[in-house]
């Protein structure tokens, strides 16, 4: 009799702990903290250095988007694409989808996903502050994409291809671009503050 209650008493405590553990896991697993920014920066710098040493070029992102758009326009309206110098700059050297930046950006999707999974940060969510609706946030996200596409194409690169790559290569135009990016962002930050804070 006494042994039975003892067993029950001994076995009881672990049970709730198991329950709470599964509950934690079935809900969102607490995401790991982000890396130390200086360590992450060294990692990013070494990836960029690898691109210099192996390929003789830097990183990029926006070029993959324009390559895909040039390929699409060529597929839908080849005559229209032929008369346009912008699309032609991607179509003149064969299939734009076989471009270096297209494959690099596909790799980014994989690398970002793997890092996110390892840290428990992958979940469908709209990032926004508490004072803005989801629809407005997504509308501004789309608008931001429109602006950045035009900006990156005018500048011959974005934060990756110009600021980061050109910054490390001491490219004068890239440094002018970088200053302009920060000026533009700080200049309008106040107007969209309700989106974040």
């Amino acid at each position: 009799m006494t042994t039975a209650t003892d067993v029950a008493r001994i076995e009881a405590p672990p049970a709730p702990r198991v329950v709470s553990k599964t509950r934690e896991r079935s809900q969102a697993k607490p995401a790991a903290a982000f890396a130390n920014p200086y360590l992450a920066g060294i990692g990013l710098g070494l990836v960029l250095l690898a691109a210099f040493v192996v390929m003789g070029r830097g990183l990029g992102a926006s070029g993959a988007f324009s390559a895909f758009v040039a390929w699409t326009v060529d597929g839908v309206a080849p005559a229209h694409a032929e008369g346009n110098g912008f699309y032609q700059s991607y179509l003149a050297y064969g299939n734009p989808l076989k471009g270096w930046l297209v494959f690099e950006v596909l790799g980014m999707v994989v690398g970002g996903l793997v890092s996110g999974l390892l840290a428990g940060r992958v979940r469908p969510v709209v990032e926004k502050g508490p004072r803005i609706g989801t629809g407005s946030r997504l509308g501004l996200a789309f608008l931001g994409g429109l602006f950045m596409a035009a900006g990156a194409k005018l500048a011959r690169g974005c934060t990756s291809g110009q600021a980061l790559t050109g910054g490390a290569l001491l490219n004068a135009g890239s440094w002018a671009f970088m200053l302009a990016v920060f000026a533009g962002a700080y200049g309008v930050a106040w107007f969209v503050r309700r989106q974040w804070r």
């Binding site: 992450a40 960029l48 608008l143 005018l154």
Partner: protein, 201 residues
């Protein structure tokens, strides 16, 4: 001199796409580690609450810049064979302003929107869609702005060339600037945290 490996013919175009994919994995991984798959983290830079963008970017610039310089000095890497984007000053400044505006409005820059999308951020996916749409709009209006697009062309211009200073001196100045910037960034974050605490109390 044996690098850049691709330019010395160690592998061909097809293999270079595999290299692109592998480098992309590293790039995406590093950006996600830094927290750049999060719009709130990224835009903290522009409200002075979180200076991670500056810290990561300038650490990377200094790391890759010093690495390329020393590999060149050791005779391993021929820096003159690393592609330098030519300078078109006016379109680059206007483009930078537009990109900066789009960054704080959309919450991501083009590269980080890809990582955000990959980790489930729906706003990141919408920025990606906006980028595709924007590329199409830009392509369609391109004939009208072609003159401006090609204006103020100076060719490939390096800061050492423009400033008439040795490469190492300019790089050293950039390193010093970055270190000063890091100290400033840490101070700004502490100041910002104090101010938020005061507002809350």
């Amino acid at each position: 001199m044996s690098a850049p490996l691709f330019k010395f013919g160690l592998f061909g175009d097809e293999a270079s796409l595999l290299v692109a994919f592998a480098i992309g994995i590293g790039f995406g991984f590093a950006l996600e580690r830094a927290g750049f798959g999060s719009a709130k983290k990224l835009t903290g830079q522009f409200y002075l609450t979180d200076m991670t963008v500056f810290k990561v970017m300038f650490t990377a610039i200094v790391t890759a810049g010093l690495g390329a310089f020393y590999l060149g000095w050791l005779g391993v890497l021929d820096l003159s064979l690393v592609y330098m984007t030519p300078t078109y000053l006016a379109p680059q400044i206007v483009g930078g302003l537009l990109l900066g505006i789009g960054f704080v409005v959309g919450g991501y820059c083009p590269g980080t929107s890809v990582v955000a999308m990959a980790t489930g951020r729906i706003d990141g996916l919408v920025v990606v869609l906006g980028l595709f749409a924007g590329m199409f709009v830009f392509g369609e209006i391109f004939p009208a702005i072609e003159g401006f697009y090609h204006s103020t062309a100076f060719g490939a211009q390096s800061l050492p060339g423009v400033l008439h200073l040795p490469y190492g001196v300019v790089l050293f100045a950039v390193v010093l600037m970055a270190i000063g910037g890091f100290a400033g960034a840490e101070w700004v974050e502490r100041w910002s945290a104090r101010r938020t605490a005061e507002e809350a109390s």
